[in-house]
Symmetry: C2
Subunit: 234 residues, 2 copies
């Protein structure tokens, strides 16, 4: 399998390009608009045909590459069914299976960071990895204080849904700010400082006390991302 | 196998932590001093025992974590046999096989970026990956204009040594500046713009015309790294 992780240093975002092998159809998860030329170079040089561009949720800290990738490749843009982004051409339901030329992903509804966040499990019959967007980060969790975020729902998504995956399942988040590139469900169950040994109420209290500043790009990014990153570009 | 890639955003460095599995002996390649607390956290939480800390070469752009890791864990510090860093406690020869609790690495002498650079091939019987330090980067190559760098030797190391590995061998460099985390030998053979379709003389001409500024940390880093990053700390 071809699995490529890209990093956007400005927003500390991770993006994932997946295909069964070079020369096959491919999908990309959480692309960043400014990095689209890099993805297109990789897609071309690996002989891939991009057929799906997926956002786990409407991002507030960077502009999505969905629209630019759709324009460049004709790929289908995809999000979970509760997205407010009307530009996407396919919405998936909780539990729905995607199969892109042999790459199998199970869509899981994991709200909390936002009310419309999905995660995607690779090889759901025998889970190898999960792309968690911002709901579960490495030794952290995504903030729950805007875009209908909800700390209780974040706990439920992580503890009742994601932590039911096997411990060996690799965790690939949409961000990391400390230089980590991957974790696993077992590690996060045991060592995530916001979750391990905590109750649901304690987690809600932690999250509601964070008082983080808004992301710098928030006003611009959310509006643009509701139009697949193409707001103002038609 | 446990394979963890870490990123230092200040120097755009990659560091690799490897072990056969959680709970086993581990080795680390090209650690960055400022990130040592992160590595130590990962090592502890994964139940690893660090037994080797390896630098591919004396870095000029960041301070190595070798000394700090040796102090914290008692691991053996290791470099290739031509290093000028007298602090290291094990030097490996070209072709030498390292076996750390089931993790097998073949040391390859690949000078050019510096005169003492080594690469390390994972699972040399059936190469899965190669950690190339700065001699071969993703769609680039390490500069050859200081620390006895030599563009002709860089070409020979890449084309005559690294490119003889199978095309499928994954390439994990010590740096990337564009957000890529991994490549493969086949991709670099075909698409590295400094190498693909070029002659040795053309490559030498390209490298000798680069006229790059010195790395910001160069004076500090090289001196410190000859003492495993512990200069001034005893």
């Amino acid at each position: 399998m071809l699995f490529r992780q890209f990093f956007d240093p400005v927003s500390s975002s991770y993006t994932y390009l997946l295909a069964s092998a070079a020369g096959r159809e491919a999908l990309i998860v959480d692309p960043v608009k400014e990095q689209v030329p890099q993805y297109l170079m990789a897609i071309e040089q690996l002989g891939l045909r991009l057929v799906r561009a997926i956002d786990t949720h409407v991002h507030a800290d960077h502009i999505t590459g969905l629209g630019a990738l759709r324009d460049a490749t004709g790929c289908i843009t995809l999000m979970g069914e509760f997205t407010r982004a009307e530009c996407v051409s396919q919405c998936v339901r909780d539990g729905e299976l995607l199969d892109v030329d042999g790459i199998k992903l199970r869509a899981l509804y994991t709200p909390g960071h936002t009310s419309e966040s999905f995660s995607f499990v690779l090889d759901p019959e025998r889970p190898r990895a999960v792309m968690t967007g911002d709901v579960l980060l490495i030794r952290g969790t995504g903030r729950t204080d805007f875009q209908n975020g909800d700390a209780g729902r974040s706990w439920d998504s992580i503890v009742e849904t994601l932590f039911r995956l096997p411990d060996s399942t690799l965790v690939y988040p949409a961000h990391d700010y400390k230089g980590w590139t991957v974790s696993s469900i077992g590690e996060e169950r045991r060592y995530n400082p916001r979750l391990a040994g905590k109750s649901r109420d304690e987690y809600i209290s932690i999250m509601n006390r964070l008082k983080l500043p808004d992301p710098k790009l928030m006003d611009v990014a959310v509006a643009a991302n509701l139009a697949c990153g193409q707001a103002g570009n038609g």
